[in-house]
């Protein structure tokens, strides 16, 4: 931190490049002039000074570089969230009162936190945990996040121990409440499929896939989705859950003769048909199932026996 924020030749534009980080707008600052980068850095520094005073309640004029790094990361996250929410360009940071802009950005993050809390309440009310302890404890940890989260000074932090993995992982680039929001959206999207099927049969399927699914940090959706797609590919099946070893082999035979692109397309078609049958036409749950279906292909195509590791056969 000292070397980043403290005087050193060649540091120009550092904070500017850090602000954009991994956001899609990162390229937007690539053509900035040196003067624009300098201006942004000076404005970020002004915000950092304000946050340092706020953090120490005006009692300290210095702090550890690591702590300053965290405050700067929080500032960057807050500004990024605001620009994205308002559809503003990066150059909006160069004009007007930066402190007013930052206050507005903090309000944006607070509003997003409230919206995310609503998602959490919905998850609390509707998630089918099927006995998974890690899902239950992770949901509780998300609840704790809202108590521990400091949107003013550590907006980028994720104060929660979350073990339960969604089927499709949340991007590691997401921070703060944005990560929690994406995580909850994943859980609710996966839950949309789980709620459409019989929980007892789901439980049996999961036990076949992994007997320790209640204790281990294993995703509940993936084994269910795999069988749903596999059976849909074969033309149906009364419940879209129970799949025999012979049916697993048929899936392999069907797909191994296709080019990868065609195989993935067939899996997506199967997911779409399953979605229709289950009343998930269009929307996030349907798209998610399609993506998960396509992602099954490399595991199915790996070897004839590999399908038994993808589908939970009876």
């Amino acid at each position: 931190m000292t070397h980043d924020l403290y005087p050193r030749q060649g540091d120009a534009g550092l904070a500017a490049s850090r602000l954009t980080g991994e956001s899609p707008a990162a390229a937007e600052t690539a053509d900035w002039t040196q003067a624009e980068s300098d201006l942004l850095n000076a404005r970020l520094w002004a915000l950092l000074e304000r946050q340092i005073r706020r953090d120490s309640q005006g009692d300290r004029s210095s702090l550890r570089a690591e702590a300053a790094d965290e405050l700067l990361a929080s500032i960057r996250f807050t500004l990024r969230a605001h620009l994205a929410a308002r559809g503003l360009p990066q150059r909006a940071l160069l004009t007007g009162d930066i402190h007013a802009l930052f206050r507005a950005a903090q309000e944006t993050v607070l509003a997003q936190t409230n919206e995310t809390f609503s998602l959490y309440r919905l998850a609390q009310e509707t998630l089918r945990t099927l006995g998974s302890r890690t899902l239950a404890s992770s949901l509780a940890a998300v609840g704790g996040f809202f108590t521990a989260y400091d949107a003013r000074l550590n907006a980028h932090a994720i104060p929660a121990m979350i073990d339960y993995p969604p089927c499709l992982p949340v991007s590691e680039a997401l921070e703060g409440v944005a990560y929690i929001r994406a995580y909850l959206v994943r859980l609710l999207t996966e839950n949309a499929l789980l709620l459409r099927l019989d929980p007892l049969r789901e439980g049996r399927l999961l036990a076949r896939a992994c007997p320790g699914y209640r204790i281990l940090p294993l995703n509940l959706y993936e084994p269910v989705a795999a069988n749903v797609v596999g059976l849909s590919l074969l033309g149906g099946g009364e419940t879209l859950l129970e799949m025999s070893r012979a049916e697993c082999s048929r899936v392999y035979a069907l797909l191994s003769s296709c080019a990868p692109g065609e195989a993935r397309a067939r899996l997506r078609d199967a997911a779409a048909r399953a979605g229709e049958r289950l009343g998930m036409v269009g929307g996030a749950a349907s798209d998610y199932l399609s993506d998960v279906a396509a992602a099954l292909y490399p595991r199915i195509a790996a070897a004839p026996e590999s399908v038994y590791g993808v589908f939970a056969a009876c």
């Binding site: 000292t2 005087p7 534009g13 000076a42 005073r53 004029s61 210095s62 550890r64």
Partner: protein
């Protein structure tokens, strides 16, 4: 191309610090202590170095002017050692804040350092540098060890 941001930032901070140190002379000269322009410049540079060494970031004019105001009436600082003493006090200040994990406010830490410096340490910076955060807390609470003056065998100022 414009001047690199970091250099601009350093310059503006140094200017603020130098102005504040010049201002502190108005008070310290009443006690026979004055910082010359070269000493002010050297202290300003030493501040950047100390912050880098201790891995800290400082805002505004920083702690040096506060140290100057707090210590200028100490009977243990000789005029010729004023600048070097301030420099060492500043370095100790940053180190203490790190050791104490920023548990002290600026004013609390300066007060604790001053009490020990004038008390048990009898002006010895060597004594000061061996203090623990616990020692500083105790000093702040009122135990500066007035009863056992420190006898320094080295040639400390």
């Amino acid at each position: 191309m414009s001047e690199p941001f970091a250099v601009t930032l350093a310059r503006s901070q140094e200017l603020a610090l130098r102005t504040a140190l010049r201002g502190s002379n108005a008070v310290s000269e009443k006690f026979g202590l004055t910082l010359t322009e070269p000493e002010i410049r050297a202290l300003s540079e030493a501040r950047q170095e100390a912050l880098r060494y201790e891995g800290r970031v400082e805002i505004g004019e920083g702690v040096l002017p506060k140290l100057a105001f707090a210590f200028c009436d100490s009977p243990h600082i000789a005029p010729e050692a004023y600048a070097s003493t301030l420099r060492e006090l500043m370095e100790l200040f940053y180190a203490f804040q790190n050791d104490a994990e920023d548990a002290f406010s600026d004013d609390e830490l300066i007060e604790a350092m001053r009490r020990v410096f004038d008390g048990r340490a009898q002006g010895s910076l060597r004594y000061l540098e061996n203090l623990t955060p616990g020692d500083l807390w105790r000093a702040l609470e009122g135990d500066a060890g007035q009863d056992e003056p420190w006898e320094d065998t080295d040639d400390d100022p």
